[in-house]
Amino acid sequence: MTRSRSEIVAWVGSNVVPHEADLRARLRRLGVPEDEVSDVVQDAYLKITRLEDVSHIDSGRAYFFTAARNAWLERIRHDRVVRIDSMSSYEGLDVMDDVPGPERQAWARVELQRVRDHIEALPERCKTIFKLRRIEGLSYREIADRLGVAERTVSSDASRGLKRLMNAIAGDARDEPGKAGSSVPSAADTRSEETP
């Protein structure tokens, strides 16, 4: 990992990831099929991966939505199946960045608190490992020693925790039955059957 990549990763974490749930909701609302939403989101991240530098980007949200819009457009052009409503749907991604700046910032702080809440909601051992790693900076080996479990258990729990966090941050509760909020129907629940 070069230094600039880790800077981009940190920037994406602070300025792009918090808008992912919004982007997914917007894509669904525009009629993008559930199984393609994740593709478009990954494509949008891919476009950011190719950046050498991010310091010229004022709004991570605007950049992210534009990247998603372009990814969706490319998809429509190359797609085997062109849906009737797909042309109007990419236009819907244009009005993304009409949220005034300060409103967005206040929201970003709330979002950080939400991420913290997601961390608190992790299973106990996942959470402990996460904190020992992130806050105290222990290696997985050291964490394994402290908890008296195998190092492999630590990294698999860390993985499990990250996956849960990613789903929670993406606003996608499909993999977490029984969690608060899962009783709320989402478009995803009705639109497509699970295709693992």
Partner: protein, 327 residues
């Protein structure tokens, strides 16, 4: 399929976080990435999620001992703090604006009823109107307001409905909205006022406003960015709630949308009916209580009804001008 890609990306993010990959692992990762360019995007996403979580956990309140091992993973929080410095810097500027507001409040007299320009919106119409002082008003469906702007004051009378104001900064001319007997005053601020029942609902997205009920100036209460309040014309203590996310959703009408995050179908229909001559009805309290999530177009009751019905396992019946959702 892609759920799987995201999961594998998470595994790789953790493996990279655990330390430098050995040669075999590096080859394995390269091979995985090479299969589909999108996977590089998925990996960035997973690592950025980890960075965000690290940043969140590094907030005040979480203990963060500095044991300076120089590991790469310990710096993302600090790095992202640097990236976040810009937006928070702007917040500080807003704080300064609030101070200026406080300074200007003293000595402003109550201004009598104003005549001036009248603006009305039809049902379903949302209008953005520039005002003479450089401020703008976004006026929601079925609303009526009067604008009086001169060199001493800027005054809006909201006779009906809802409007969102982005106020041009001008200390010399206070910007006051009168909604019945409820008053809201700002200097350079963005906020909305909606007449509702026996009072007005106020949402502030930027800066600070001051609100009170005419005749009860002693009850003046400030609402800062991210705050909302319902101010009743009946004198009662004014309560302010911090709800930045709700405000974001409540103002979705500015782009022709109704944003729902678990609100009931009954509430959604009442909101939607503000915008359309064709009314939607829900049959049955059980059905009206069903929670909904999503963005809907305010001007398209048929599509809304179809979507709501399919989400709640109901069906749609159309009878004349009425669209009925029932089980």
């Amino acid at each position: 399929m892609n759920r799987l890609v995201d999961d594998i990306a998470a595994d790789w993010a953790i493996r990279r976080d655990a330390g430098a990959l050995d040669a075999a692992e590096a080859v394995e990762l390269d091979a995985w990435l090479a299969e589909d360019p999108r996977r590089a995007g998925a990996l960035l996403r997973a690592e950025a999620m980890l960075a965000l979580a690290t940043r969140a956990i590094g907030l005040p309140g979480a203990s963060a001992p500095d044991n300076g091992t120089g590991r790469e993973h310990e710096t993302p929080a600090q790095r992202s703090d640097r990236w976040m410095a810009r937006p928070f810097g702007r917040r500080l500027l807003l704080g300064g604006g609030a101070g200026a507001l406080a300074a200007s409040v003293a000595g402003v007299l109550f201004l009598g009823p104003a005549s001036g320009v009248e603006i009305e919106t039809a049902i379903g119409e949302v209008r953005r109107v520039p005002l003479a002082d450089g401020s703008t008003a976004a006026i929601n469906t079925d609303s009526r307001l009067r604008v009086a702007i001169n060199d001493k004051f800027r005054r809006i009378e909201l006779d009906q409905g809802e409007a969102f104001f982005e106020v041009a900064h001008d200390k010399a001319r206070p910007f006051t909205v009168a909604a019945g007997r409820v008053r809201v005053r700002a200097v350079g601020t963005a906020f909305s006022v909606r007449r509702r029942g026996d009072g007005a609902e106020i949402l502030v997205t930027e800066g600070v406003v001051e609100t009170w009920v005419d005749g009860y100036e002693g009850s003046k209460t400030r609402i800062a960015a991210g705050g909302r309040s319902f101010v009743s014309e009946r004198p009662a203590p004014i309560e302010v709630a911090a709800a930045p996310q709700q405000i974001d959703r409540a103002l979705a009408w500015r782009s022709g949308e109704l944003a729902l995050n678990g609100e009931s179908l009954g509430y959604a229909v009442a909101e939607l009916n503000r915008y359309n001559g064709r009314k939607v009805e829900v049959v049955g309290d059980d059905l009206a209580g069903e929670p909904l999530v999503g963005y809907f177009r305010t001007g398209d009751p048929e599509t809304f009804a179809e979507a709501a019905a399919s989400l709640t396992g109901a069906r749609v019946e159309t009878e004349g001008a009425v669209i009925r959702i029932r089980r």
